[in-house]
């Protein structure tokens, strides 16, 4: 990538948000006109337990600079137990990603409830800042 492109580079971060908590927390942030970086793209799922760890690998493979999985706090899942499985799955996937050489700051999982608009804002803002600092993701993409 040449110098001019690098200066204009903006990270593109994919966020999987569960419909009942984190997605509505994001909506609440909008209702309150809170501001956060434009780098985030939200993909709505019914429950964080719907997020297959393979989607994370796919996102990085296609060019994502960062991925966020946001769900309800344990105990508050709309489907009662979904996020307990999400927690186990991503504890393992996070470690596998790290072990294969991905910078651990690129993948985050967070619990954001439907009332935590501020938490959504700070989570997203921090993630974007962290990723801006470490640069574009070249790993898992077959680029050299």
């Amino acid at each position: 990538m040449d110098v001019i492109e690098e200066q204009k580079w903006e990270p593109k971060i994919l966020a999987f948000c569960c419909n009942w908590c984190s997605y509505s927390g994001a909506d609440l942030a909008g209702l309150n006109r809170m501001k956060y970086p434009e780098n985030i793209r939200i993909l709505r799922v019914p429950c964080s337990a719907r997020v297959n760890p393979q989607y994370i690998l796919r996102a990085f493979q296609k060019g994502a600079d960062g991925v966020l999985v946001a769900g309800c706090h344990p105990g508050d899942c709309h489907y009662s137990t979904g996020n307990y499985y999400t927690r186990r799955r991503f504890l393992i996937m996070k470690r596998l990603l790290e072990y294969s050489g991905i910078d651990p700051r690129r993948f985050q999982a967070r619990w954001v409830s439907g009332a935590e608009a501020e938490k959504f804002r700070t989570t997203v803002t921090k993630l974007c800042e962290d990723i801006k600092a470490i640069g574009p993701n070249r790993k898992l993409r077959g680029l050299k």
């Binding site: 903006e10 434009e38 939200i42 429950c47 989607y55 508050d76 709309h78 009662s80």
Partner: protein
């Protein structure tokens, strides 16, 4: 082949002020599958919706993307628009350009780029949408209430009054639960039996309620609207049709055993009614102790019975019935403090009793005729110590939760003791005094005025010294140790889920929580439902609470049941899981993960590649139970079970589209 229409909404200036909608609509024209793309001021308005319907006809569109506000707001609206426009309502995706784009960003160029990306995601997803159709399941108009304490009775009465048939089951020989065992109820001090026994009679006489006492639910199959339940009625050895309840048999029975109803403080005969106002007011025979049933001797009751109702050859009987809804009202038991609290004597001191013992003592129809007497020698105690939080708020060796009713009933007991005992001394050792309800704090204050002494501190030891129980504790407010020479100690023990409730929950098909209380569907917003559709909760089985809250919750559960039974069929949510049986290998992991028990392994017969007929298992989803969370889909490695509306290929396309 999809012909996608894209509609970008300005939402007045809500979106248009920060996102260049015309540019987004123009960019969308180039997305794969898009045959029409336009922007408009207010998509949700009538002309906006007409615009969609007209475009469907004009451009022969078969999938629609509307980019506007959050789908949590208008997804339903636009689905109806599609249906009115002749399309399946699920050929639709919504892009959130307002709450998650225009309202949270200020840079127009970046916000527009983001909007284009978001629309691209929706277009990619909708290209893989399939037509979805909801199905219906029938609803049997009959409710089952398990447990006939105050909550169960109230729920049954409310449902029956609404015109629905109810079967009310209780495993004891009498209904009523714990409430008739109590003497007076706080804060008004009405007689507990006087307010609960009329309800018991009302239940027994209600034309819509079928009462099954001395019975247990042993098997539940099926799902909401269609629960197939097997109920066992234990052998009563008395024909309740012939029996008139005259009670002659009880007076003649030669063998007396400790009465469970009086917590062992009194005696009953082997042919017995638990208490005089029992409903049904007919006795049963205690097969463990009856001389005739254990050794063939005696038989007096059969000889004296005027109607010949005694039947020593009785056996248990079973019925099966189908119900639309089930209400769990199985109540509570008290924590077995004797197993754990050595500092209070492990139960070896007869004068250290629980609050429920005290209730039976002070109850005029109890074993002591309403007189507070020491169990050891029958004398009247002058100094009684009450200890709260025994077994509750004790994460070190017992339960960590607060048992909610003890502060009030201890105040009540202290008040009753002081009231009945001239020059009596009541000491209450407490950690806190929790009196949140109506007139509760005033009641506690009046107990203090009565002369009860409240000491803030725990009791470290009780030991016998002569005829007295020495209670060593602390008054933390003055920072000193205190010692009370008591005649009797009353422990306010924690409520725990009633015995057998865990196994019953498993049989019915839902989960108790960490402490064994029945888990509600959502801790704040759905307190009377369980995650299992069609199973509701009432009373203390969901958590410790007092009588007003139990009755309120029972009414709430009854309304939910009536809402369900008022329909003759239920429409199911079509965004449910679905199995591709060719790919499914029948490993069954998805079955264990489903919170609603909606997946079963079912056997199918097919020809294998040798041409032989083989039978194998595949996952099968019950669309009535599946709530569409998708937890199962991730357990399936090849993706044989997939979630309609959020399929694997849809999500992968969404992810890919951001970087094409």
């Amino acid at each position: 082949m999809k012909r996608i229409g894209v509609f970008i909404c300005h939402c007045g200036s809500n979106i248009a002020a920060t996102v260049d909608c015309a540019k987004v609509a123009e960019a969308a024209k180039a997305f794969p599958g898009v045959f029409f793309s336009s922007d408009y001021k207010y998509m949700c308005s009538e002309p906006g919706q007409e615009f969609i319907k007209d475009s469907i006809k004009k451009y022969d569109l078969n999938a629609i993307v509307v980019a506007s506000c959050t789908p949590r707001m208008h997804e339903h609206t636009f689905r109806k628009t599609l249906a009115n426009g002749g399309l399946n309502p699920y050929m639709f995706e919504m892009t959130n350009l307002r709450e998650q784009c225009s309202w949270v960003h200020s840079d127009i160029e970046k916000a527009t780029d983001k909007a284009i990306d978001l629309v691209r995601m929706s277009v990619a997803k909708v290209a893989k949408n399939e037509e979805l159709f909801s199905t219906t399941i029938p609803v049997h108009k009959k409710a089952l209430v398990i447990g006939a304490g105050i909550a169960g009775m109230q729920a049954a009465l409310d449902i029956a009054d609404a015109g629905h048939k109810v079967v009310l089951v209780d495993r004891e020989p009498t209904i009523g639960g714990k409430m008739p065992m109590l003497d007076k109820t706080f804060p008004t001090m009405d007689c507990s039996a006087c307010i609960s026994t009329p309800k018991m009679v009302e239940v027994a006489q209600h034309p819509n309620i079928e009462l099954m006492a001395y019975s247990e639910v042993i098997e539940v199959n099926g799902f909401i609207g269609n629960f197939d339940v097997k109920i066992k009625t234990k052998a009563k050895y008395v024909d309740h049709v012939k029996c008139t309840g005259c009670g002659l048999c009880e007076t003649k029975c030669p063998k007396k055993v400790p009465n469970e109803y009086d917590l062992g403080m009194g005696l009953r005969s082997c042919i017995y009614k638990p208490f005089p106002q029992a409903v049904p007011n007919k006795p049963v025979i205690d097969a463990q102790n009856c001389l005739k049933l254990t050794s063939g001797k005696c038989g007096v009751c059969a000889r004296v019975c005027p109607t010949g109702a005694v039947r020593y050859d009785d056996t248990e009987s079973f019925i099966t019935d189908t119900f639309g809804a089930i209400v769990m009202a199985t109540g509570y038991d008290l924590y077995k403090w004797e197993d754990v609290y050595g500092e209070y004597g492990y139960g070896k001191y007869p004068d250290v009793v629980t609050g429920l013992h005290f209730e039976r003592m002070v109850n005029a129809s109890g074993p002591t005729g309403g007189k507070i007497k020491r169990p050891s020698d029958g004398t009247t105690p002058k100094t009684v110590v009450f200890i709260k939080c025994v077994g509750s708020r004790d994460s070190a060796k017992a339960k960590s939760y607060c048992s909610r009713a003890c502060c009030m009933y201890t105040a009540k007991h202290a008040h009753q003791f002081v009231d009945k005992t001239p020059e009596g001394n009541a000491y209450v050792f407490y950690m806190d005094v929790r009196t949140p309800g109506k007139a509760y704090d005033e009641f506690y204050e009046s107990t203090l005025r009565d002369g009860a002494v409240y000491l803030r501190g725990r009791v470290s030891k009780i030991y016998q010294d002569g005829g007295k129980l020495i209670v060593k504790g602390e008054d933390s407010l003055i920072g000193k140790q205190v010692e009370v020479a008591a005649d009797m100690v009353v422990l306010a023990t924690a409520m725990v889920p009633s015995a057998g409730s865990r196994e019953l929950a498993q049989a019915v098909g839902f989960l108790p929580d960490l402490n064994g209380w029945y888990q509600e569907a959502h801790p704040k917003l759905r307190p009377v439902e369980t995650p299992t559709a069609g199973v509701f909760l009432a009373g203390t089985c969901q958590g410790p609470k007092d009588i007003p809250d139990s009755v309120a919750q029972a009414g709430a559960a009854a309304v939910k049941v009536c809402g369900l039974l008022s329909k003759s069929e239920l429409e199911t949510n079509p965004m449910t899981a679905r199995t591709n049986t060719t790919v499914c290998s029948g490993c069954g992991i998805c079955v264990s993960v489903c919170p609603y028990k909606a997946i079963q392994l079912q056997s199918i017969t097919e020809r294998d590649h040798h041409g032989h007929r083989i039978t194998r298992n595949v996952a099968s989803v019950n669309n009535g139970l599946c709530q569409g969370c998708g937890a199962c889909t991730v357990t399936c490695r090849p993706g044989a079970i997939d979630l309609q509306g959020f399929k694997n290929d849809q999500i992968l396309e969404e992810v890919d589209s951001l970087w094409t």
